[in-house]
Amino acid sequence: MIRFLARRLAFAVLLVVASSSAALLLTRLAPGDVSAELGTGATREQIASLRARFSLDRSAPAQLAAWLGHAVRFDFGESFLYGRPVAPLVGRAALNTSVLAAVALTLATIAGLGLGLLTGTRRRGVLPVLVRGISLAVISMPPLVTSLLLVFVAARTGWLPAGGMSSVDIVDASWSAWAVDLAWHLPLPAVALALPIAATFERLQAQSMAEAVQRPFVVAAAGRGVPPAGLILRHAWPVSLQPITAVYGIAVGALLSGSFVVEYVTTWPGLGRLMYDALRARDIYLVAGCAAAGAGFLALGTLAGDLLHALVDPRVRESAR
C-alpha cells in the first residue's frame, strides 16, 4: 500500500512539473508576449524593462529552470494581468473550481447511483423506462449544451441567477449572507456540470446492478429467504459498485474539462476561466501556475478515485498491498 501510494504521488509530482513546464514553454514560444499589453505608445525602454521583469530577455530553458527553482519554494512568480503574485490568484480560482466540482460530483453520485439502482433492478414500469430514456438523452449532452440550456431556463424564469458566483452587493455582507448568496449561485453551474456525469453513473450502475443480481451468491441469498430490499442493498449493490469506482478517476478529468466550459458560460471565477484569460494575455507565470494547479487537481482526484476503487474491491486492495 505504501509503495502504491509513493508511486502514485511520484506520478502526481511528475504530472504537475511536466504540465506546468509544458504550459510555460508553450506560452513563452508563442508569438507575442506581455509587452503587447502596453499598447503602441510604449517606449523601447518600457518594453525592455517589462520584458526583463518577466525574464523574457533570458532564454526559454533558463527561464523555465529559474521558475521551477522558485516554484519548489511556492513562489510561482507574478501575474502581469493582475499585477499580483500568481499563488493567491490561482489558489482562489482553484478553490472556486473545487467547490463547483465537489458539489457536482456529489450530485452526480447521489442521482446517478440512486436512479441506477432503480433502473437496474426494475425492467418494467413507467418510472424506470422514463429514467432510462432521459439518461440516454442527457449522456449525449456535453457540458456546453447543458450549461447553455440551464442558463436559458434561468434567464427565462428568473428562478436562479444566470451567471457569476456572487451578487455584486455581497462584498461587505456578513459571512452567513455570503454563504446564502453562494448557495444561490451554485446550483446552476453544479447541475450543468453534474448532469452528463450523473447520466453516465446511472447507466453504469443500472448495467452492473442488472448483472449483479444474477450472480450465484445473490441467488443463494434469495434462496435463504433474504427479503428483496436486503438482497439488493446488502448483497448485490456492493459488488455492483466496482465498475463505477473504476470510472471515478476519469470522472475527475471530465469534471475538470467540463468545468472549463461551465465556468466560461456561467462566468464562474474558476481555474478554467483564469487560465483562459492568462493564455490570451500571454501571462506566462499565471498560465504555468494554473496548469500546475489543474494537474495537481487531476492527479489527486485520480488518486482518490483509485483509492476508492481499492476500497470497494478486495482484489485490488490485496494486490496494492
Binding site: L26, G32, M141, R280
Partner: protein, 338 residues
Amino acid sequence: MKTAGASLLAVIVLFALLAPWLSPNVPDRRFTDLLYAPPTAVAILDDGIRAPFIRPWRLVDRLRREFAMAPRVSLRWFADGRLVTADPDAGAPLLLLGADAYGRDVFSRLLHGARTTLGLALVATAGATLIGLLIGGASGAGRPWVDHLLSRVTEFVLVIPAIYAALAIRAVLPLVLPASTVFALLTAIFAILGAPIVARGVRAIVLTEREQDYIVAARSAGAGTMRLLVRHLLPAVRGHVAVQATLLFPAFVVAEATLSYVGVGFPVTTPTWGTMLRDAANLSLLADMPWLLAPAAVIFCAVLGANLVVQGSGRPPVELNGPVRSVRLQADLPRSSG
C-alpha cells in the same frame, strides 16, 4: 437503437451535404431590418387551405426589437437552385429559425456551419484513427523500448484533459487566422489529441493477438512484420477502432463548438456550430431568443446519434473523456488477482 442512431447521423450529414440547396438564404446575407427576428411563421390556413406560405416579420421598433406580422408572402419551390425560398420581390426572407445579431438566417447558417463542423470532425477522426493505428501497431508489434516510449507519451496525453491541451495549443498561436488555416490547425490538434485513445486499445489487442496460433503460423510461413500487421492484425482491431472512431467524431464536434464558442476557434464570420453559439453567449438576450440555441440542439443530435450507434453495438457509451481507462482497469484485474 443502432439504426436510429445511424439514421440520425445520416440525416445530419445529408443536411450538411445538401446545404446550398436546402438553405433558403445565402448564409452571409444580412437582413438589416431583421436583427434577432424570431422564426418566420409558416402557415397553410388563410381563408381556407392554401399552398404553404409565410407571414414574414416587419420591423416595428428597432430598439425594443419589436416585430409585427406582415401580409402573406408566397413560397417559391425549386427556384434559383434552392428547395424553397420566399419570393425575393416581397423583400421578406424565409427565416425558419429566426435571425442572429446581424440579421442573418440562422437556419441557413446552421446548414452551412454543419459542413465546416462535421467536415472538421470527420477529417480529424480519420487522422486520429490513422495516427492511433500507427502508434498502436508500432507499440504492440515493435521492440520493447519503442513500446515503452510510445506508451509513456500516449499515457501523458491521455491524462491531460484534452480540452485544456487543445485550448493551450490553439490559444498560443496567433488568434486571427483565416478559416482554412484554422481548419487545418484544429484538425491537426484534434487528431494528435485523439490518437492516443485509439492507440492504447490497438496496442493492447496487438499484444494479445501476436501470441495467437494464427500469427505464429503466418510468421513461420514467412510473413514479414508489415504483412502481419496489415493482413492479420488490422482485421483484429477493426471493431475496437470503429467504436473509438464513432466516439471521437462527436467529441470533435463538441470540441470545435467549445473552442469557437470561447473565441479561439474559427473566425466569427465563418458559420460553424461553435461560432453561431457565440450569439447565445449574451445572457440578457438569450431569454427572449431560444432560436439562438439551435446549434446546441444539433450538437446534441450529433452526439446522441453516435452514442446510440455505439450503445446499439452493445457497448455502454462511457463518454467521460474517452472510454479507455475503464477498459484498462478491468483488463488489469485478472492479472493483479492472480
